[in-house]
C-alpha cells in the first residue's frame, strides 16, 4: 500500500530535523510530515559530537553536539512528526518512493507532495599502500564507535588530516583514554580552526604539516604506519619516511555529498569542488531544479552543523509556504540574514566561492580582525582570550555576566575584553567552545593560571603537576592551587600555581606519571621530589636530607646518596666533587638498642641480667 504524506524528509541529522520543525510549526502540526533515517537513533552526526558548538545561542552555541541532537529530536517529536529509523530511502522512481525497512525486512512505498533531502555526506577515502587493512578507519567512524557505543577501536592512533574533523577526533580520542601519536597534514597549514588545533597541541600531540601517509603496516590489523614529508606538489620526498607504532589510523580527509537520491528525482547536479564535488543545483531557498524537491545540509555543500540547521529551516519554511499558501517570508528572511552573518568569515570562503558558481552571492568581511594586545591590570584575577581567528562564534560575549567581552558586532569578529568590567568570575572560560580562554593572576610569590579542563581524572588541590606551554612542552613544575568544578557544562577550570613570569606561557599541565622513579627506597622519595626541592633553591645535600628525609631511612643513605648527588650536579651544573656530600653518621647499619645496652653494661654481669630480664618482660 502506498502511503501519501505532505512532506517526506530524508535524514534525521541537523538539517532534516530543523526542516521538520519549520514545516510542522508553520503548518500547525507534524501530521503527514515523516522523517526517514538510516541510522539506529535520530540525530545524524550530531549524536557523536561531544564538543561544544560554536555559533550563537539561537543555534545552541556552547551546547555539546549530542545534546543539540537530543533537543532537536525532542522538539520534532513534540510537534507530532514521525521519525522512522533503520529505514533507507532506496529509490525515487517516477511513480513512487521506495523505503527499505531493515527492522521488518520489507520495502514500503511512499508518495510525497514535497521532498526535503538532507542525506548528508560520506567520508572520503585516501589511496596508500594497504589502505583497506582493518584498523584504517574513517575519523567519523571512530567518533561513532567511541562516542555513541563507548568502544575504542585501538589504543594508539595516527590521524590523517588536520581539518576540524581530524582535530576534534584527536581531542576526543584523548578524552576517551586513547593515545594519539600524531596528526599528519599534507598541506602547509592546519585547515581547521586554530582554537581546535591549540587544544590538541596543548595535549602534546604533534601536528606534522606537509606530511602524508604512505603505508599501513600489518597483516590482519594495523600495527603501524609509514609517513613521509611531501613537496609543494604533494609528492612524498624520498628519505623522509618515518614509522609510527599505532594500532589504528583515522582518515579525516574530507567529505563528499550523498547525491544519489537527489539525482534520482531528476534534479540537476553541478560539479563544484569548493562544495565537495557534485552537488544539487539549487536556489537561495534551497529549492532544486525540480519544483517540489528541496535540499539542506552537507548534501547541498560540505559545511558544518550550524549552517546545516539554518538551511534546514529555510527549506522547511519554503515547503510550508507552498503547502499552506501562507507567507512565511519574515521567518525565511530572518534565517537568510543568519546565514549571511555566519558566512562572512574567512573560513566560509570556499562555500562563498562555490555558491557564487551557482549564482548565489554571499558578502564577506565586516567583522573585527584586530587582536587585543592589552593583557589587563597586573595582579588582578582576570580572563585572557586567545582566540586569534575570525570564526563564527560568540558565547564568550553572551555568557559574560558583566558584559566585559564583545566580538564587535559581527559574529565572526575577534573577541576583546574590557578589563574595567572583568570581575574574574571564570564563566567565559567554562562556556568557550574553543577552550580558548584562560584566567591569570600575578601574586607575590607565584602566579595563578586557570586552564579549561575536560579530561579525567580531575586533579585535587595540591597535586604536583608538570606545567606545559601552548605546544604541550614541559616547561616547569607546578601544582594545582584549586579546581572550579563545572558539573553541568563539564568544562572545569584548574587553577595552577606557576613560577612568576610563567603566567603568559603555561596553558596546560600533565599529571605525574603513575610509574615513578624512586631514588630513596627506604623513604620512597622520587627523582621528581628531589628535583622539585632543588628547584625551590635547596641545593645542599644536608638541607635536602632535612626537607625530604632522603637518606635518613634504615639503609643510611647507601643506595641514594650518590644518585642524589648526581641529580644535584645535573640540576646545578656543579661537578659532584664540588658538592658537599654531607655527614656520614653512625651507625652504618640499624643496630638493636638491646645490643647497644648490652655492650655498655657487659662488665657488670649482675645488673646486666636484671636489665636483660626487664627487657624480656616488657
Amino acid at each position: 500500500m502506498v502511503r501519501h504524506v505532505k512532506a517526506l524528509i530524508v535524514g534525521s541529522g541537523p538539517a532534516g530535523l530543523t526542516g521538520a520543525i519549520a514545516i510542522a510549526e508553520s503548518v500547525g502540526s507534524g501530521e503527514e510530515v515523516v522523517i526517514i533515517d538510516e541510522g539506529i537513533e535520530p540525530g545524524g552526526q550530531l549524536s557523536k559530537q561531544t564538543h561544544k558548538f560554536f555559533g550563537h545561542e539561537g543555534f545552541y552555541a556552547s551546547t555539546r553536539g549530542f545534546e543539540i541532537g537530543n533537543l532537536l529530536v525532542k522538539k520534532v517529536k513534540s510537534l507530532g512528526v514521525e521519525i522512522i529509523q533503520q529505514s533507507t530511502v532506496t529509490g525515487i522512481y517516477e511513480d513512487v518512493i521506495t523505503v527499505y525497512d531493515r527492522v521488518n525486512n520489507i520495502v514500503h512505498e511512499y508518495l510525497a507532495d514535497y521532498l526535503l533531502i538532507a542525506s548528508g555526506a560520506t567520508e572520503r577515502f585516501l589511496t596508500f599502500k594497504n589502505n583497506t587493512l582493518p584498523g584504517v578507519y574513517g575519523a567519523g567512524a571512530v567518533q561513532t564507535l567511541m562516542n555513541q557505543y563507548r568502544v575504542l577501536p585501538g589504543e594508539s592512533f595516527l590521524i590523517v588530516g588536520a581539518g576540524n574533523i581530524g582535530l576534534i577526533v584527536a581531542y576526543q580520542l584523548v578524552q576517551a583514554g586513547a593515545q594519539v601519536k600524531a596528526i599528519v597534514e599534507a598541506s602547509s597549514r592546519v585547515g581547521g580552526y586554530a582554537v581546535h588545533a591549540n587544544k590538541v597541541k596543548r595535549l602534546g600531540i604533534p601536528i606534522l604539516l606537509r606530511h602524508t601517509i604512505l603505508e599501513a603496516i600489518g597483516k590482519d590489523k594495523v600495527q603501524g604506519a609509514v609517513v613521509a614529508g611531501v613537496d609543494e606538489r604533494f609528492k612524498p620526498i624520498p628519505g623522509t619516511e618515518k614509522e609510527f607504532v599505532v594500532d589504528a589510523i583515522c582518515l579525516a580527509v574530507g567529505l563528499q555529498p550523498n547525491v544519489e537520491l537527489v539525482a534520482q528525482t531528476g534534479a540537476k547536479l553541478v560539479y563544484i569542488p569548493e562544495l565537495g564535488g557534485y552537488v544539487p543545483l539549487r536556489d537561495e531557498n534551497m529549492k532544486t531544479t525540480v519544483h517540489n524537491v528541496f535540499v539542506a545540509g552537507d548534501l547541498s555543500g560540505i559545511e558544518e552543523a550550524t549552517t546545516a540547521m539554518i538551511e534546514g529551516y529555510i527549506a522547511g519554511y519554503n515547503i510550508a509556504q507552498e503547502l499552506t499558501g501562507k507567507s512565511f517570508e519574515d521567518k525565511i528572511e530572518k534565517m537568510k540574514r543568519e546565514l549571511e552573518e555566519f558566512r562572512r568569515g574567512p573560513f566560509s570562503k570556499k562555500v562563498r566561492d562555490g555558491l557564487r558558481k551557482m549564482g548565489i552571492v554571499f558578502p564577506e568581511g565586516g567583522y573585527r580582525e584586530e587582536q587585543q594586545t592589552d593583557r589587563g591590570p597586573v595582579g588582578k584575577l582576570r580572563a585572557i582570550i586567545e582566540c586569534p581567528e575570525a570564526i563564527p562564534c560568540n558565547p564568550c560575549e553572551t555568557s559574560c555576566p558583566t558584559g566585559a567581552i564583545n566580538v564587535g558586532g559581527n559574529i565572526n569578529g575577534i573577541p576583546q575584553i574590557d578589563y574595567s568590567k572583568c570581575i574574574g568570575c571564570g564563566v567565559c572560560v567554562m562556556k568557550c567552545p574553543g577552550l580558548a580562554i584562560f584566567m591569570i593572576q600575578e601574586k607575590e610569590e607565584y602566579s595563578l593560571v586557570g586552564v579549561p579542563y575536560e579530561l579525567l581524572p580531575v586533579p585535587t588541590n595540591g597535586t604536583k603537576v608538570k606545567l606545559l606551554n601552548f605546544e604541550g612542552k614541559e616547561i616547569a613544575n607546578g601544582e594545582v592551587d584549586h579546581v572550579v568544578l563545572n558539573n553541568k557544562g563539564k568544562t572545569h577550570i584548574v587553577f595552577l600555581r606557576v613560577p612568576k613570569g610563567y603566567e603568559d606561557v603555561v596553558r596546560s599541565f600533565r599529571l605525574p606519571e603513575k610509574a615513578e622513579e624512586f631514588i630513596c627506597r627506604c623513604e620512597e622519595i622520587t627523582k621528581e621530589d628531589i628535583e622539585r626541592v632543588i628547584d625551590m633553591g635547596i641545593t645542599d645535600y644536608e638541607e635536602l636530607r632535612r626537607v625530604l628525609r632522603i637518606g635518613m631511612g634504615p639503609c643510611g643513605g647507601k643506595t641514594c646518596r650518590s644518585l642524589t648527588l648526581q641529580i644535584i650536579s645535573e640540576k646545578t651544573g656543579r661537578p659532584i666533587s664540588e658538592i658537599q656530600l654531607g655527614a656520614y653518621r653512625p651507625p652504618t647499619m640499624p643496630t638493636p638498642f638491646e645490643a647497644v645496652v648490652k655492650s655498655a653494661l657487659s662488665e657488670n654481669d649482675e645488673v646486666s641480667e636484671n636489665i636483660q630480664g626487664g627487657i624480656e618482660n616488657e
Binding site: 541510522g39 567520508e123 583497506t132 582493518p134 584498523g135 578507519y137 567519523g140 571512530v142 564507535l145 563507548r150
Partner: protein
C-alpha cells in the same frame, strides 16, 4: 576495548548483556551494541575477507561504505555497523560477495 570512564559522556554501569555468536564463538555485547561495536569491543577487528582474500573491517560505521558486510543467520551482505545485536544471533565472516541462498 570498552571505555570505562569518560569526562563528558556517562558510561552506564548497569548494562543488559546480550550473547551472540561470531564464527560459532559466543560473544558478549550490550543491548545498545551494533554487531560492529560488539565485535570491536571484544577485539575482533576482521569482519570478513574480500574475494581476493584481503581482511576487511569497518570503515565508515554509518552504513555507507559496505566495508563491514557480514553474514547474519545465513543472510549475507548485512552491514555490521548499523545492525543491532540480538540474543543468539549467528554472525559469520563474509567471504567475497556472500553466497546467495537460491
Amino acid at each position: 576495548m570498552r571505555i570505562k570512564d569518560h569526562p563528558i559522556l556517562n558510561v552506564p554501569t548497569e548494562k543488559n548483556y546480550v550473547t551472540f555468536y561470531f564464527e560459532d564463538q559466543p560473544v558478549c555485547g550490550t543491548a545498545d551494541d551494533t554487531i560492529a561495536s560488539a565485535l570491536i569491543a571484544n577485539g575482533f577487528d576482521v569482519f570478513g575477507f574480500t574475494e581476493h582474500n584481503h581482511p576487511r573491517g569497518f570503515f565508515c560505521a554509518i552504513g555507507k561504505c559496505s566495508a563491514c558486510l557480514v553474514e547474519v543467520d545465513g543472510v549475507p551482505n548485512v552491514r555490521a555497523c548499523i545492525t543491532p545485536i540480538r540474543e543468539g544471533m549467528r554472525v559469520k565472516m563474509q567471504r567475497g560477495r556472500g553466497k546467495p541462498k537460491w
